[in-house]
Amino acid sequence: MQLIEKLSILADAAKYDASCASSGAPKRSSEGKAGLGSTDGMGICHSYTPDGRCVSLLKVLLTNFCLYDCQYCVNRRSSDVPRARFSPEEVVTLTLDFYKRNCVSGLFLSSGIIRSADYTMEQLVRVAKLLREEHDFRGYIHLKTIPEADPALIAEAGRYADRLSVNIELPTDASLQTLAPEKQIVSIKQAMQTIYTGEQTVLNEPRAPRFAPAGQSTQMIVGADDTDDSTILHGAEALYGNFKLRRVYYSAFSPIPNSPKSVPLAAPPLMREHRLYQADFLLRSYGFSANELFTGPGHLALDIDPKLAWALEHREVFPLDLNRAEPTLIARIPGIGLRTTQRLVDLRRERKIRFEDLARMRCVLAKAKPFFITSDYHPQQADSTSVLLREQLRDRPQPQQMGLWG
């Protein structure tokens, strides 16, 4: 089979993994050196496909032959898809070609399970090793980690890769047993622990060989089972806490060809995925806990963002005086982000904040208005009920073109 045919099959097979980040790597440069590639901590999105997702890395599977029969996966063994397998050298060639064209900032390599977990992991590591040692490649490498693989192989992967990831796949143990019977939550978490331990070992040891300096991430499929958002975000919070994951990626379950009856054949729940990312960001960067976002089981609201939902439930905190409030509280005002918070703090060192200052900053004023006070402004809506405010502030669905799902 021609390389280009393999590429079409193995890129198509890899598109269901949402992660594409190329950020978090240490500073590396090839200036004046043999070889190719640099990283500086910032990711670069080299292109965008018409689904609005960024292309940052060459994201392919080494092979989509697979022994497992995970119901949600297009590459499961019972799926009637075209199959292909790259040689490690072919992946290296493609990575270097795309990199020199400035189409990608590196490689994100994953694989179906062939022969055994160890064999598959060895093949993935071999590609990374070839790139680093034979070609002096200093760009970004993200390797998917096969959970059941020998910890020694995972440790080796960590020496070549910037990022490692083990997919948690589904939010609950029960769903994993139903939909991915060959996968074990225990081995998934063991692999995460192995990576976490590897990271901790080299922490503050400048002379130690590096280990996955961009940390580890995972992916959770949303909407293939009926788990609620509360369970999903509590699960994510535990992963951030236990294994210091850099990111949990949520992937709205996207219908697959020859879909088995065990998973939905429906449009991907993109708005739900969007709300989960917003809530996840509140956990990672705004100091929220999952318990603050959920009082019990249930989903995030789709018509308002999770920060607005929290504010509407906690009216006793608001309105906040922007000239006095703690920055962490200002950042809890709907429509005001971390950047605007910093700008307000900078400005109020010089003079009083006025209403019109907000209009000139990049915040969503309509959303923020009921929740703050400035030296010349007190919200009329401060006395409106939350029900009324929600009605005023909720996102109106855009008129949709009749799709195939109508």
Partner: protein
């Protein structure tokens, strides 16, 4: 009224601004012409040659902000900077902060400039010249159309990225060439560079185009978000740009029902019968 010309050079503007400030020339009394090659100090008022008595104290960070905002192509490119400098040097630091009317515009320009530098890092597409073109020519060339003056500083990024390779980026305005050891910037892009970058053949583009169309998930079609991140003004210089309309319409006319690319669906599939192959 003092009318100045700085040839769109920050270093020249800085000298002029220093002089103006030392003589306490109010921003309303000065303007910078962008096109006419007037005398450096064309004016209807008598101008003392040396520096004046006023000694301005400005925060270090301000100079960097001004230098960055100076790359912005737009109205009042230079006079806006002088107004900021004037206000800050007279004790009003809000002129450099978002929230203030002038400060917000300054910050907006800085943001646009840094975004444009990022666009260069992301959307430049190098094409290899035929092997054996000779050591006097670059190995990789690119044509790029930035909206602001970012090429000189932002292209340094590629020195680390491309190692010892020789590369060149030509734009409608300026150009850079890295000869393997140093970066050469030409404020007027030489015609030969432009020709090279715009006329190069790319016989091996099929791999990247195949990748782009197969990593796209038609079931998640969302062209609005794509255009937000990848403004359409860049499409014409991206090899994948010409695929975009076709992929969108293919998704809208049937391909949206699942994630698979059309060409992959057309191939024979293969189930794996044994769980222990």
């Amino acid at each position: 009224m003092i009318s100045l010309e700085c040839d769109n050079l920050f270093s020249t503007w800085r000298e002029q601004a220093r002089w103006l400030l030392s003589h306490q020339v109010d921003p309303s009394q000065v303007s910078w012409g962008e096109v006419q090659a007037a005398d450096l100090f064309a004016t209807d008022e008598p101008i003392p040659p040396g520096l004046g008595p006023f000694q301005a104290r400005i925060p270090k960070a301000l100079l960097q902000l001004l230098e960055s905002a100076a790359c912005y192509h737009g109205d009042q490119r230079w006079s806006l900077l002088y107004e900021v400098l004037w206000r800050v040097s007279h004790g009003d630091r809000t002129a450099m902060l978002a929230g203030d009317k002038l400060g917000s515009e300054l910050q907006r320009r800085i943001k646009q400039v840094s975004r444009e530098a990022h666009h260069l890092h992301a959307f430049v597409r190098f094409i290899a010249l035929p092997a054996g073109a000779g050591p006097q020519l670059p190995e990789y060339v690119a044509w790029h159309e930035p909206a602001h003056d970012i090429l000189k500083s932002a292209s340094e990024h590629f020195i680390g990225r491309m190692g010892r390779h020789r590369w060149m980026i030509a734009t409608p305005l300026d150009g850079v060439y890295y000869d393997g050891e140093q970066l050469i910037h030409q404020r007027q892009c030489p015609e030969a560079w432009r020709q090279l970058a715009q006329n190069v053949e790319d016989p091996h583009s099929a791999m990247w185009l195949t990748y782009y169309s197969h990593i796209f998930n038609p079931a998640r079609l969302n062209p609005k978000v794509m255009e937000g991140h990848l403004p359409s003004r860049f499409w014409k210089n991206l090899p994948e740009g010409k695929l975009i309309p076709g992929l969108i319409s293919e998704a809208r006319t049937g391909k949206q029902k699942d994630g698979q690319a059309k060409l992959v669906g057309a191939r024979p599939g293969k189930k794996i019968l044994s769980g222990h192959g």
